[in-house]
């Protein structure tokens, strides 16, 4: 019966149902942000939600960040593995964050999975995954840059039922309440996630009511095939061959490192293979990532290269293959700590980016800040006397590319539709005063196209006994330039104490103590440049000086342009530029 229906459905109905599925994904995504309790969810949008088919193949995913792309399917597949043979019932919801068993990222990202039944038959899953501000563990904010085992990183939910046929499992709720520092936030987020999943369920059922189950299932196949076809066409346009490169991850938070990582990318008409074998084994500190996390990062850069239209589903990823050694820093095994896993997963993606940037210049750029540049700051609010907790990523500089300067002050590729916290909001809610939030125009990343500047964000503590845990990767190995463009600069932070002492720079630092009047100055990287700086038009260089993006000395030394310090007009070029440029 299904077979005959498939051939009878007209192409427009398939298209309309397909669009409806994507719209359902969007709706679920927005519903979660609007009701969440955690800034990391509603400002940073550190969550994802979507639909899979009955086999766990991703159909549509709404993303706030790129880091979760494809992680939902692993949660569903784990659910099927555990409850597959008839143990799933309508009204069940599964909770899962186990990094090694379907969770993929770190314990802070809590996933929920809801099987969708239509007239008793399992037809799809709705799933979401969101960064809870708190899941317990040894440090406030849960993710820790000096954990040595996963057991220090919070509560583990190993794919268990949070709801049984519509009835909540109160025992789990009580356990969460007893184990996390801000239970209202965590449970508030949990309810927001449940509501969003149910919205997805309701809409899929409505879609089946309207078009019939068989047509919806046919449209699902159509959607996946459509995605694969789009990706295949793009793949065929890429230069075939093998591209190798290597790089380094700074350290693991304990001073170990740097750790060498390497990739061999093979592109054929049918496959895009990223082989990371030979990269460093897993390490004592929490920068390890699971295989699933690495695959997500690779998927993000694969989409950047092949699929600018970003309707991502598992059809698109059928062409992608990721190979690693078991137990490597890019594919860690239990019980390795993984709290700040994004440092290594993004290092993996960055390798592919770096290997292909010279051959796919219309889609890729020079290196960027790369690190999420995570800031966790806790303390007590001076007026309300209530504890506060800042958990936020930082913006920094992006790499320049063929035809364009790098963006200034943007979140890294691992983030996405992520919003910084406004100064006025931060000062109201937290016990800090922001002394400065401005571009860090250090003039690094010189090139025909300039790397984007990072920023300076300075928090002045307004109470004693505040504690800052900073995780800034790319502190030692800076963003790379290409085609003759210069490298960018490092992510780093300093502490300017009230007694005038300055401490730093540091990259990764757990629990730095701050007292009233101490200032923590967070400085992010400038991206790499593109092309020979001598090829940057002289008028542009003069304007850069006038705008304060580069200094008059840099104009002279790096670009070979002599600029009048009063009028910012071009007075000539250096002999070096004269010889080496144009």
């Amino acid at each position: 019966m299904t077979q005959t229906v498939k051939t009878k459905v007209d192409p427009f109905t398939l298209e309309i149902v397909k669009d409806s599925l994507i719209a359902i994904g969007d709706e679920m995504f927005i519903a979660l942000a609007k009701t969440s309790m955690s800034p990391i969810i509603y400002e940073v949008l550190d969550y994802a939600s979507g639909l899979t088919d009955a086999k766990g193949q991703l159909l549509t995913q709404g993303n706030g960040v790129t880091g979760f792309i494809g992680m939902l399917s692993d949660m569903v597949k784990q659910t099927l593995k555990k409850f597959g043979d008839g143990k799933l019932k309508p009204g069940d919801i599964i909770i899962i964050n186990d990094s090694y068993g379907g969770g993929g990222s770190h314990l802070s990202d809590v996933g929920l999975v809801l099987p969708i039944f239509y007239k008793g038959e399992l037809v799809a899953f709705s799933a979401n995954k969101a960064h809870w501000t708190e899941v317990g563990g040894k440090d406030p904010g849960s993710y820790s840059n000096d954990a040595t085992e996963i057991f220090q990183e919070g509560l583990q939910f190993p794919c268990v039922k949070l709801f049984n046929e519509g009835q909540i499992n109160q025992a789990i709720v009580d356990i969460i309440e007893a184990n996390v520092r801000f239970p209202d936030l965590s449970l508030g987020d949990m309810w927001a996630q449940v509501a969003a999943l149910k919205t997805g369920e309701k809409r899929v059922v409505e879609l089946c009511d309207k078009h019939g189950k068989d047509i919806v299932l046919s449209s699902i196949d159509y959607l996946l095939d459509h995605g694969e076809e789009l990706a295949r066409q793009e793949l065929r346009k890429l230069p075939k061959g093998t591209y190798e490169t290597e790089g380094f991850i700074d350290d693991d938070g304990f001073g170990n490192g740097p750790f060498k990582v390497k990739v061999k990318v093979t592109i054929t008409d049918e496959k895009f293979i990223a082989d990371f074998r030979g990269s460093h084994p897993q390490v004592p500190g929490p920068i390890n990532c699971s295989y699933t996390a690495l695959v997500s990062a690779v998927r993000a850069i694969f989409l950047a290269i092949t699929n600018p239209s970003q309707d991502a589903n598992d059809g698109v990823f059928r062409l992608l293959e990721v190979i690693t050694d078991k137990g490597s820093v890019l594919s860690a095994k239990r019980p390795a700590p993984v709290s700040i896993y994004w440092e290594s997963m993004q290092a993996g993606a960055d390798l592919i980016w770096k290997a292909l940037a010279p051959v796919v210049p219309h889609r890729l750029s020079a290196g960027h800040l790369l690190s999420v540049c995570s800031v966790v700051l806790s303390g007590v609010h001076p007026d309300t006397k209530e504890p506060f907790l800042i958990v936020e990523p930082s913006v920094g500089g992006w790499g320049a590319a063929e035809g364009q300067d790098g963006a200034r002050g943007q979140f890294c590729i691992g983030d996405g539709e992520t919003y910084n916290v406004p100064v006025e909001v931060a000062e109201t809610r937290y016990g800090v005063l922001v002394d400065e939030y401005s571009l860090h125009t250090d003039g690094a990343g010189a090139g025909e196209y300039i790397g984007g500047a990072g920023v300076v964000r300075s928090y002045r503590a307004l109470t004693d006994n505040q504690s800052a845990s900073i995780t800034f990767g790319r502190h030692k190995f800076v963003p790379w330039g290409i085609n003759g463009g210069k490298d960018g600069s490092a992510n780093k932070f300093y502490v300017e104490k009230v007694n005038g002492e300055v401490d730093g720079p540091y990259g990764i630092y757990p629990r730095y103590p701050l007292n009233t009047g101490d200032v923590i100055k967070l400085v992010t990287a400038t991206g790499g440049g593109y092309g020979n700086p001598f090829n940057r038009p002289v008028e542009k260089v003069a304007k850069d000086v006038k705008n304060g993006y580069i200094s008059i000395e840099q104009a002279h030394d790096d670009y070979g342009v002599i600029v009048n310090p009063e009028m910012f007009t071009v007075e000539g070029v250096t002999s070096k530029r004269h010889q080496g440029g144009e």
Binding site: N63, L303, P308, F411, T418, N420, T428, Y549
Partner: protein, 680 residues
């Protein structure tokens, strides 16, 4: 006589209503860059006695054009020390997730024109560092040297205490009276420094443009002996005086489009429909907005140039909530790389336009599909239509790809376009927890009535209303507006701890501001009506729900009522409420209407049978039934109470209503078409 003129991309529309309630319309070409010429042209074309115009209401695209075409003036920005880059860092977000070549929206003020001065307040509005006036003077001198034409001032926490912004503005006035100035607290009193700075910059950027435009228009009106009360349509669905419009021109950013939405609410009030989905299809876009219990929803979550690729620019002024998508009559049908049919957002525009126009268009559009399926006839066009050419465009570009007949391909285009529009309609209704069965769809704009009947059926709406003069309905809406000002003040307080005296004072202060502004505009206190809202959330959430709240002094009982209303709205929007979780006010929102006398709608004087209005019969291709012989009626000949059964088409100037088999249409006492969609 009351006259409204509305400048659109192609045409400038005019609608008037005289003392007898008689409505007249006229259209003439829009005349960029001297838009006021088009306004005078259309007044002349309408043939009205210009000295008899008592009230003149104007909707204009001058502001939005100046912004999107970057035609504003050179603007300087003054910020708190340490924060001049707020405009460039913005929020750091990237809707285009997987694009590693993402480029941020370019700031409207270059970095060398973003200057800092020493001053600082904390979040409570207490002064930590006094304003350094010497630095302000230096900045002024620098801006003079750089030949800046407008200045924006934006300091941290000025929404709580504007003292330093006021001092700075006074100093500028003293030293450089000619330059246009905007202090951020004058345009928005909400927190979030980037959004407020952006709004202040935009206001300054367009201020000289707006002033010169309004002055030119006013001079032209006076030249023609029109001594009218003059108003400009604002984005909040109300009007303001010419003078106020010059001060805060950014409030006109959506001047035209919102009038149609507001008009739908007014029409609903007249004919007894309080739940309405307003739906407008033009040449390049479709717009919709939901009106719940007569209330047009206004918010400050407005952006320009924001889409799935671009972060856009925020403008925190009150704008009617409109969802707009790139699907109009001129939207192009195309096959994507993997072979799926798409419609829009690219549009053939007015030139070359659809293939049917014969002006060089080669890409099939929604209008072409409507022609091939018989929804439109060749006589509906101002141009000589080559039907074979239209068919062959659809055949080559769409039908051959799917190995389908031309009419099936054309129907496919209509269905995909409808599917896009349906998603927009769902977004404002079902997805916000509203049941479409409880709403009527008011369809207007050139294409609204052609697609509304099919969409209503899919959405589950029982009744579609096609108003009189539906193709110039936005201008009609303007005729029916009141003066309106919105005052939004960020005021973060937990509801269980709120100091009632302080809260009541805050409301009174907003009302006082409103009365003062209306007084300045020459409106007496008795004509002013207040409506209050509060933006509320559960403690810990970020996003708020706008809750209608009572007027007058609040007591502890009022607080309970408000908390309960919030809980119910939260549940309606998001499917759940959190009993017992503390709630928090984020902003107080006062809407002040200055009531003016409006015309009443004239009733239709004749009644009759539908047969008298019959124009012809022609074949029309329907989704389920295929080709059907379909009767076509002249709208202007349809009398009161006449009834038509589908399939049928009702034609009027610049619009056609399509009635599907099983649907019925009747004409109400004012001449509006009322369609029963057949939804149970």
């Amino acid at each position: 006589m009351r006259v409204a003129t509305d400048i659109g991309g192609t045409f400038t529309d005019l609608v008037y209503v005289n003392e007898n309630g008689e409505i007249g319309v006229a259209k003439s070409h829009t005349t960029p860059p001297n838009f006021e010429k088009g306004v005078i042209d259309v007044i002349e074309k309408s043939g009205i006695d210009q000295t008899a115009i008592q009230t003149f209401i104007h909707g204009t695209t001058v502001i939005i054009n100046a912004l999107t075409e970057r035609k504003g003036v050179k603007t300087g920005l003054i910020t708190t020390k340490g924060f001049r880059d707020v405009l460039e860092i913005a929020r750091g977000n990237r809707p285009d997730l997987f694009n590693v070549r993402y480029q941020k929206p370019v700031p409207f003020v270059e970095r060398y024109l973003r200057q800092e001065v020493e001053e600082r307040l904390n979040y409570k509005g207490e002064v930590l560092t006094l304003l350094n006036k010497e630095q302000v003077k230096e900045v002024i001198a620098y801006f003079q040297k750089e030949e800046v034409e407008a200045i924006a001032i934006s300091y941290l926490h000025s929404y709580v205490n504007p003292v330093h912004e006021i001092e700075t503005k006074e100093l500028i006035h003293e030293l450089w009276p000619e330059v246009a100035v905007t202090a951020s607290h004058e345009v928005t009193k909400e927190w979030r420094e980037y959004e407020r700075t952006s709004t202040a910059v935009f206001n300054s950027y367009v201020k000289p443009i707006a002033a010169s435009y309004v002055d030119r228009l006013h001079a032209k009106l006076l030249e023609n002996h029109t001594d009218s009360q003059n108003y400009i349509m604002q984005s909040n669905g109300g009007t303001t005086t010419f003078n106020s419009a010059k001060q805060t021109p950014i409030n006109m950013v959506e001047s035209g489009p919102v009038a149609g939405i507001y008009g739908a609410a007014v029409l609903g009030d007249i004919i007894g429909e309080e739940n309405i989905i307003a739906f407008d299809i033009g040449g390049t876009t479709a717009k919709c907005s939901l009106i719940n219990k007569g209330e047009v929803k206004v918010s400050t979550d407005y952006f320009i140039e924001k889409n799935e690729r671009n972060a856009g620019y925020p403008i925190k002024v009150p704008v009617v909530d409109i969802v707009e998508i790139g699907n109009g009559g001129g939207s192009i049908a195309w096959i994507d790389r993997a072979g799926s049919l798409k419609v829009g957002p690219q549009s053939a525009g007015a030139l070359p336009g659809p293939v049917a126009y014969g002006q060089g268009g080669t890409e099939p559009t929604t209008t072409d599909a409507n022609l091939v399926t018989g929804r439109l006839s060749t006589e509906n066009f101002d141009y000589q239509v080559d039907l074979e050419k239209v068919k062959s465009a659809i055949k080559e570009k769409v039908a051959d790809h799917f190995d389908l007949s031309v009419e099936d391909a054309a129907l496919g285009i209509i269905r995909i376009a409808n599917s896009n529009m349906l998603n927009a309609l769902k977004l404002i209704s079902v997805r916000k927890g509203h049941n479409p069965r409880e709403f009527s769809l008011v369809a207007f704009g050139g294409g609204g009535s052609m697609h509304a009947t099919a969409l209503a059926k899919d959405l589950g709406v029982k009744k579609v209303i096609v108003p009189v003069a539906s193709s110039v309905f936005s201008a009609w809406g303007m005729l029916m507006t009141d003066l309106r000002h919105d005052y939004i003040q960020t005021y973060i307080r937990r509801l269980n701890q709120v100091d009632l005296t302080e809260l009541n004072n805050e409301w009174h202060s907003l009302e006082y501001q409103a009365l003062m502004q209306f007084k300045e505009e020459g409106l007496e206190k008795s004509k002013v009506l207040f409506t209050r809202f509060a933006d509320i959330r559960y403690l810990g959430q970020e996003h708020t729900v706008k809750v209608p709240v009572p007027n007058g002094d609040w007591t502890s009982e009022t607080i309970s009522v408000v908390v309960e209303r919030f809980g119910n709205l939260h549940e309606q929007n998001y499917t759940f409420k959190l009993e017992g979780t503390p709630t928090e006010i984020v902003s107080l929102h006062l809407t002040a209407f200055g009531k003016v006398i409006k015309p009443s709608m004239k009733k239709l004087e004749f009644s009759g049978k539908a047969e008298d209005a019959l124009k012809e019969s022609r074949p029309v291709y329907f989704e389920e039934q295929g080709w059907m012989d379909t009767k076509v009626y002249h709208r202007h000949l349809l009398g009161k109470d006449s009834k038509v059964s589908g399939p049928a088409i009702v034609e009027e100037t610049s619009a056609s209503t399509v009635l599907y088999p099983g649907q019925t249409l009747s004409v109400d006492e004012y001449g509006n078409l009322i369609i029963d969609t057949g939804v149970e």
